[in-house]
């Protein structure tokens, strides 16, 4: 077991390094291959009126003239030792861990990421709990009442939930619940949990529900399929043959097997969203990682994009690891000796 975890962690580190290389290449190597010169890259960091000399100087100072592997190496070095950027007008320091430095906003990326993370985590944790409970419940009931009005209705709603984009459902919900009825908070509000838990929940309620609507639908379908499969297992018949009440047969014997695929998807979904629930955050104007990444893309701020991508990758990889370990807890057959 220990060897397994160590091996998986080594893999995770390796994967993150590969991810950083790939991302770095996409933003720094590919433009060059496509014909962009270091000067064009540097041009966006100086004023519009700058002379070619200034641009060249800036490119040199920011290290854009170095070969790409050297730039990558400097970036990696920055993660461990911090980095300094000489603008000519002064030296900007980016303390370790320096996951990049935005030349546009003149700010280190890492502290900003730390600042934004609580918003995204709050959003995802709340929404994921709602969609998990709602999705599984609906899925179980649908499976047991297969073919009934409830089943068909629930699966119809589920289909709608999967198909409708969040910027549609989100905006409709905002317009109706927040602005028409005024029962939920309007967009753009976030109160940290540590300040006021009640306000925290109130400010996030609508994003939670909108986001979980999208996912709950998928979970309901998955749970329903899993339940239908496990309900036909031999061990369900055994449980009934023991004289176990039907409710216990379902909740204790059938649901556990049905949940295995749900847990896998849940881990991956949460991991992915923690890297930034881009559309939700944008729709509700929440300053989380997703919106940070969105804004960075709009501005073409490469160091920020790189930072957000790595954080997202980190969450996905860790979520994968946790899911695999959880598997052993849920299913003793895959428990490692």
């Amino acid at each position: 077991m220990f060897a397994y975890i160590v091996r998986r962690l080594l893999w995770a580190v390796l994967l993150l390094i590969v991810l950083s290389m790939v991302t770095f290449s996409i933003f720094y190597l590919i433009p060059r291959l496509a014909g962009a010169s270091p000067e064009t890259l540097a041009a966006r960091y100086v004023g519009r009126a700058a002379t070619p000399e200034t641009v060249h100087l800036t490119a040199e100072r920011l290290g854009l003239l170095d070969p790409v592997p050297v730039q990558y190496w400097n970036w990696i070095k920055g993660v461990f030792t911090g980095a300094e950027y000489d603008y000519g007008a002064g030296v900007e320091t980016c303390p370790a861990p320096c996951f990049g430095y935005s030349f546009i906003t003149r700010q280190a990326v890492w502290p900003e990421l730390l600042d934004r993370a609580p918003v995204t985590i709050s959003l995802v944790v709340g929404a994921s709990l709602i969609w998990l409970i709602a999705g599984v419940t609906v899925g179980v009931i649908s499976a047991l009442r297969r073919g009934t009005v409830f089943d068909r209705g629930a699966m119809g709603v589920a289909l709608a939930g999967v198909s409708l984009p969040i910027f549609f459902t989100g905006l409709v919900a905002l317009a109706f619940f927040s602005y028409r009825l005024g029962i939920t908070a309007p967009g753009g509000q976030f109160v940290p949990f540590s300040e006021n838990p009640a306000l925290w929940a109130y400010s996030l309620l609508l994003p939670w529900i909108t986001l979980s609507f999208l996912f709950a639908a998928q979970y309901a379908r998955l749970t329903r399929a899993g339940m239908l499969e496990t309900m036909s297992e031999d061990y369900i018949r055994t449980a009934r043959a023991k004289g176990l009440a039907e409710r216990k047969v379902i909740l204790k014997h059938a649901l556990r097997g049905a949940l295995t695929p749900v847990v896998t998807i849940f881990g991956l979904d949460v991991g992915l969203l923690l890297g930034g629930a881009v559309l939700t955050e944008k729709t509700f104007s929440l300053n989380g990682l997703g919106k940070y990444g969105y804004d960075a893309i709009v501005q073409g701020d490469l160091p920020k994009i790189l930072g957000v991508t790595l954080v997202a990758g980190f969450f996905v990889i860790i979520a994968n690891l946790i899911v695999d370990l959880l598997y052993g807890v849920i299913d003793p057959r895959v428990r490692l000796e």
Binding site: A3, V6, R7, L10
Partner: protein, 350 residues
């Protein structure tokens, strides 16, 4: 029957010569563990087999699950590559042939599988399934593939007009017949059948066993049959090898083996078979083996059966008994064999 008689070959001149010879055959499946996935052990599925199958005989390998009999079948057909040892088929060493070299071999050596449901492609009509070997091997039979396939269907007792039907339209027994027709397509010399009837109902089982017997006559076939049902094995076999934990513990003519089993494991196995005869219920002595078969990862040293044997003594734990011919044609790997003929009993068993 329309099938032409096989061409006479040099081999036919010596009817009792060996078709396939197995010498010191070993198959170990490695077990890996740890951070670096180093090999930490091996499942010793097959561990040193020596036997030869004669032309036109039915040679059976029996044993309980995990004894290595199915692995042996897969080694013989070279679906698996042996870890060590040598397999000679018609005088040719086939132990380490590569895939491309194996292809011509597949014409002479075919396999029948246990499960007639999963071994037929459900999307292909029967004609295509049975004719597949011709296409794969690039053989054009006289009269065309369709004619050949219909002859084969007739030979296994199916209606040749069902050429265009799909596997799901047939019952289990009929599907097994389709599988058999397919294996016969290229006129193989050797058919290896892994539990050919164990998935079938009793009444269908008898039909297939009778069919296999008829086909052996008609097509000059040699059978290697892997089975766990001792009644079936007795009925079909000329010679039988009993396996336990990757080794042959006894090998003899079927009648000799069943009437006077010599290895204690064989004796226990025979006594455990339920017989459909209530009169025998009272007057027979049953030897109940205790416990389970040990793991093939760490098999007991020396005689592998000593942990469950009621006759085991010190020597069984320290010295492995060789598979020795104690009576003519009757090979046993045991220090203290049962049912020894009196004259042989006076000589000390090795």
């Amino acid at each position: 029957m329309t099938a032409p008689a096989p061409e006479p070959t040099a081999a036919d001149a010596e009817p009792d010569s060996d078709l396939i010879i197995v010498d010191g055959l070993i198959k170990h499946f490695p077990i890996r563990a740890g951070i670096l996935r180093r090999q930490v052990g091996a499942v010793q599925a097959v561990d040193g087999l020596n036997f030869a199958v004669r032309r036109r005989e039915t040679f059976s390998i029996v044993g309980e699950s995990g004894c290595g009999k199915s692995t042996t079948a897969r080694l013989l057909t070279r679906l698996l590559e042996p870890t060590a040892g040598k397999i000679t088929f018609e005088g040719r060493d086939i132990t380490h042939l590569k895939d491309t070299q194996l292809r011509p071999l597949r014409r002479d050596m075919q396999m029948i599988f246990q499960d007639p449901y999963s071994s037929l492609n459900p999307r292909h009509p029967v004609g295509k399934i049975v004719g597949a070997p011709f296409r794969i091997q690039g053989v054009s039979p006289p009269g065309g593939i369709k004619k050949a396939v219909q002859d084969l269907l007739a030979a296994v007792g199916l209606n040749p007009e069902h050429y265009n039907r799909y596997p799901h339209e047939f019952s289990g027994g009929q599907r097994q017949r389709i599988g058999i027709a397919r294996t016969l397509a290229l006129r193989p010399r050797l058919i290896i059948a892994d539990e050919p009837v164990s998935a079938l109902d009793v009444s269908i089982q008898a039909q297939i066993l009778n069919l296999l017997e008829d086909l052996q006559e008609e097509f000059d076939l040699t059978y290697v049959i892997i089975a766990h049902d001792l009644s079936v094995v007795r009925y079909v076999s000329d010679r039988v090898a009993v396996m336990y934990l990757g080794k042959i513990v006894e090998l003899a003519d079927a009648d000799a083996l069943y009437s006077a089993p010599m290895h204690p494991y064989t004796v226990a196995l025979m006594s455990a078979v339920p017989v459909a005869d209530t009169r025998r219920r009272k007057d027979r002595e049953r030897i109940l083996l205790s416990g389970d078969v040990p793991s093939p990862i760490n098999p007991p040293p020396a005689c592998r059966f000593h942990t469950r044997c009621w006759k085991a003594q010190e020597i069984c734990r320290t010295q492995e008994p060789p598979l020795a011919e104690l009576v003519s044609g009757h090979h046993v790997a045991c220090h203290f064999p049962e049912n020894l003929p009196t004259e042989a009993a006076s000589a000390p068993a090795r």
